[in-house]
Amino acid sequence: MSEALLEVSDLSVAYGQIEAVHHVSLRVLPGQIVTVIGPNGAGKTTLLSAIIGLLPCKGGMVRYAGEAYARVTLEKMVAAGMVLVPEKRELFAEMSVLDNLLLGAFMRRRLGFRDERQTLATVFALFPRLKERAQQRAGTLSGGERQMLAIGRALMARPRLLMLDEPSLGLAPLIVREIFRILADLAAEGVAILLVEQNARAALQLADYGYVLETGEIALSGRADELSEDARVAESYLGQAAGCPVA
């Protein structure tokens, strides 16, 4: 078994006195797509925020790229190639699409790389829509385009680990399919992907491995194909997803 790129052990995260994530452990290998599924309010966003250092951990440990962190700092994680596409996208609305993308390479520039034009070309090849709209303000984009921009901006950092928080949220099924196809391509190139989704069916189809998060705890985990066949998952998540499609 190869070395994990990300290994979270026994992680707990609290908002004040209220603990939202309890003793969660998970691993992501290089080039692997791992998904965390679970209902609204389960703690998925909280988990990702703590892994990258937006929120402090109350307990536990994050190992990333061979280093162990008891206290994660956001800047170090970004410098080490961990990138988060947040649930709310967090774009720079008053800036052009192009400037948003170039800022995605901010840390790489600081680290001395000067290859953002090449990276930009590959991002434009993945998302031709962004190229068409390069000079437009990010705030004027449609929902699907915004998600593409958020992902494109993340790719500008040439991530080793790409974490996405509900990339399918509010998007048409066609666009979701396109985005998931791009994620599969990225993984094939060796990028590790940690995908948080409520759209369990699509996520489990794409992923190699899955975790089910319920009220802050890992309720279940396993290979994605096995999880899709698990009776509990099928009943709680897939049945529901079929009855009322998230997209």
């Binding site: 947040p86 774009l91 720079f92 008053e94 800036m95 800022l103």
Partner: protein, 344 residues
């Protein structure tokens, strides 16, 4: 009032308005990036002017001691962590807290700035005031960066009082005026335009253009705007909020110091004059809702004109009139929208 007087007043108004505009821009920038309503902005103005005046009188400005003291405290506070980090970061840190202050001390104590030409003295004064911005950010605002806007405002008021007190210790209670950059004057029709007015306007315009280019064209400028627009988004790109705050405060100090040096030949500056000047920039910034740069600059220009004309009609009430302007503006703004919302 005839046309000639009106033109004269307008000239005065535009010149002071240009300075208020610079200060308004600094206030908007600092607020947008750090959420600090930067009351001590005017102290940089006074420090800039009075540091220059000290050189002219052959005195050692207290600004130097403040710079050295702050650098020393930062060395103690951040030194151990920087040492552990090592590498280029440590060298950069040493350059900031040891090399630069040492160079400044050498220039002031050994370089005999008294004998320097005015422009060189001005640059040295600016070089002494500029680092105070990031230093004060590091020691005063960075530790409370996540506090509420109100809390940050209270800290800013405290810092303002401290800096005014230090100003009295450093420069004494007498006012100072420095010689103009240019003695030239031109007659344009019936109006006399002084070289100093042109200096103020030219330098303000130059600074504004430089700021514009920095924010629009450079990656670091864009990173600062990004922080102002979306703090979380910017942090996720690896743009450190602390770094952005230091740069914003550096600009605030440079703009303040430069404004002081520019108006010192026109107005007598006392250790506590900065507050009133900064407040007028603040009125402009409020007109712009602490958010819009062009509106803030236009508002500040308006303040300058209003002040100049009211000094003609009712000079005893000139400050009253200027600050009364803020009331309808505030009413209008709060009625129109709630743009300066408290972030959670």
């Amino acid at each position: 009032m005839d046309l000639q007087i009106a033109l004269l007043l307008a000239q005065d108004g535009v010149v002071s308005g240009a300075i208020y505009a610079l200060l308004a821009l600094a206030l908007v920038l600092v607020f947008a990036v750090t959420r600090v309503v930067f009351i001590p902005q005017g102290e940089f103005v006074a420090y800039g002017a009075l540091t220059l005046a000290s050189f002219q009188m052959g005195k050692i400005p207290g600004t130097l001691w403040l710079l050295l003291a702050l650098a020393f405290v930062i060395l103690l506070v951040d030194g151990p962590a920087a040492w552990r980090q090592g590498g280029r970061g440590f060298l950069l840190f040493l350059a900031q807290v040891v090399l630069y202050p040492a160079l400044m001390a050498a220039a002031v104590l050994l370089g005999q700035p008294h004998a320097w030409p005015l422009w060189a003295q001005s640059l040295l004064a600016l070089a002494l005031v500029a680092p105070l911005g990031p230093q004060l950010y590091r020691l005063v605002f960075q530790p409370v960066a996540e506090a509420s806007v109100l809390m940050l405002l209270i800290v800013a008021v405290a810092l303002h009082l401290a800096l005014v007190g230090l100003g009295l210790v450093f420069f004494g209670a007498e006012g100072s005026r420095t010689p103009p950059f240019s003695e030239a004057s031109w007659e344009v029709g019936s109006l006399v335009v002084s070289g100093q007015s042109l200096w103020v306007l030219g330098a303000s315009a130059g600074l504004i253009v430089a700021l514009y280019l920095f924010f629009e064209k450079t990656l670091y400028g864009k990173a600062l705007r990004a922080t102002a627009m979306n703090r979380i988004g910017a942090r996720l790109m690896g743009i450190s909020t602390t770094f952005a705050g230091k740069i914003a405060f550096l600009f605030a100090a440079v703009i303040g110091g430069a404004s002081g040096i520019l108006i010192a030949p026109i107005t007598t500056i006392y250790y506590d004059t900065g507050f009133l000047i900064g407040l007028k920039g603040f009125v402009g910034a409020i007109v712009g809702g602490l958010a819009s740069y062009p509106v803030a600059a236009a508002g500040a220009l308006l303040v300058g004109l209003l002040e100049s004309f009211s000094s003609f009609w009712a000079s005893a009430y000139k400050e009253v009139l200027v600050f009364t302007l803020i009331i309808p503006v505030l009413l209008w703004r709060s009625w129109q929208s709630h743009q300066v919302e408290e972030e959670e």
